[in-house]
Point group: C2
């Protein structure tokens, strides 16, 4: 069960095939090699059960075919979706993923970048929470939803536009008094534009609106207090809610139901993210869907690009509204 010692190497293959070491390398890498030599090498590989060893290559080329992904966790379904699609995109290009979970800890973000350096990852895709993070200039670095400077590409959805759509949809549903709720930590930087877009559209549409930031720790009780303030004669004086994220929307819907209100009959609720599980069933009935697949694709092709400096500093991808139990991307 111990690691097989003396596993065959390219040198062994070369000897077995009666060719030079370099020839084996070229066969394996699909480079120009004469027909007869190729055949001999391939047979020798079969006979010996040779397994390519990436460690040697990593040392020699200083490229590991690994991209680090720095993200708070994988428990939040939005992050889980991101991890999933980024992994798919990396795999298409024959890259591996080095996962770093920060748990929103700013120190860990910095430590991880150090760790990534030692492991010689070929690039970093990061969704971070330290606004003062020092961006390494020796490793290709791309962010999700965080704008640092023009020299650090940032991939994000159209958060402002998404906020506007949410307000428009609520207006279409006939809502007149609406509110935007968010938790503290989750909506920093680019995602905070969800509120801006929402507010701007509310003003244009003549909707009466409120904005509330909930504590991270106990959003429910705070939300329920907020709701109590808006109950007149047992009826809600609000008829539409826009939540910063689907996770919050999900929790809020539970809260509303616990308090005896029906969604969407008594109050319309729109989330943001478009998280969903298998069978594409979404967690939240009405939501602004982030194009996770496109975001993943953009991150990966940006970080692997040879000419990072030619990439726009902010890539803003379109969102769409989805309603009903399922949603497609």
């Amino acid at each position: 069960m111990a690691k097989a010692k003396n596993a065959p190497t390219m040198a062994d293959v070369a000897r077995e095939a009666g060719v030079a070491l370099g020839t084996v390398s070229r066969v394996i890498n699909g480079q120009q090699v004469g027909e007869e030599f190729r055949r001999k090498v391939e047979e020798a590989i079969q006979r010996l059960g040779y397994q390519y060893n990436n460690s040697g290559r990593a040392l020699r080329t200083d490229r590991t075919n690994t991209i680090a992904l720095i993200i708070p966790n994988t428990i939040n379904p939005y992050f889980a979706l991101l991890v999933h699609h980024i992994n798919i995109e990396l795999e298409k290009r024959n890259y591996r993923m080095l996962l770093c979970f920060t748990e929103y800890d700013r120190d860990r973000e910095t430590e991880f970048i150090q760790m990534v350096r030692q492991n010689r990852a070929d690039g970093i895709i990061a969704l971070t929470y330290n606004p003062n993070l020092t961006i390494p200039d020796d490793i290709p670095f791309v962010t999700i939803d965080r704008f640092f400077s023009v020299s650090v590409p940032c991939i994000a959805a159209d958060n402002f536009g998404g906020g506007r759509i949410a307000a428009q949809k609520l207006a279409e549903f006939g809502c007149r008094k609406v509110a935007f709720l968010r938790t503290g930590s989750s909506l920093t930087n680019e995602p905070s534009k969800r509120k801006d877009g929402f507010v701007s559209a509310c003003v244009e549409l003549g909707l009466s609106f409120e904005v509330l930031a909930l504590e991270d720790e106990a959003p429910y009780s705070q939300f329920e207090a907020f709701l109590q303030d808006h109950v007149v004669d047992g009826k809600l004086s609000l008829d539409g809610l826009f939540l910063g994220t689907d996770m919050l929307a999900w929790q809020i819907i539970q809260s509303l139901q616990r308090m005896g209100f029906r969604v969407p009959e008594d109050v319309q609720v729109i989330g943001f993210d478009g998280i969903r599980m298998f069978g594409n069933q979404s967690y939240v009935v009405s939501t602004i869907v982030q194009p996770v697949q496109d975001i993943a694709e953009a991150c990966v092709s940006a970080v692997l690009s040879r000419h990072l400096s030619t990439i726009p500093s902010l890539i803003c991808l379109p969102v769409h509204y989805a309603s009903g139990g399922t949603t497609k991307e």
Copy 2:
């Protein structure tokens, strides 16, 4: 922005510090080194901004400090929890995780093992779906929820016991006519014992029970048809449901509500897994909680154990029942 060429190596540090290469290595690895030498080396490291290079070590030692995790995806919250806790355990021991998403594709399981070999991971933790998977004998291999043979350690929760608890709880709630539902692919091998435990306890408790396997593709419509068969005079003739997983339970609860039934007033629903999100709010109100943290710990310490063969072939960890919005592990 390109990768820094000519990054300082141990040799540079040695030259700068005026010591031998091997001495630098020993300082870095915390081995016995004289006080003065240690100081000189540390200062040289500072001055040069030396960064340890793991590729060199991997080549020389044939150990990468990487464990591969083979799992269908990270979108299912139960898998997301597993990934999360396994990563935490690996990190504690200074290991990295190489993620392989199979999407339940059996061929990919095999391909990944090949890929893992080439990347020289130090071990594999796998949650697979091919019952005939060839287990590599040259890499430490540990499974989750899948028993292959006595020589391949399998970590699992007490599925049988969990099934029994579910039946007992339903009985406590006063249920008399219950059913166990599962989707096709999800409950193979160890997890299939959930049904066995449930059935055995139902028999003991004198509960009338049914068992139904739903198609993977369209469980909802099939479930709704099943439910129609159990409606008498607009009332459900079933008063308790036990679902194979929380994800299914979650979907079933949505289905029930769509059909106008209340949970738990009209019908009690118990899930399995104990998936939850931040703030520890669980997805499903009543559930049998798998000890994910313990499972992760067991997997990691097993796969890293020097003496894999002395590890029991089946490690069965206790589950518990949780009710209410939150659940602690």
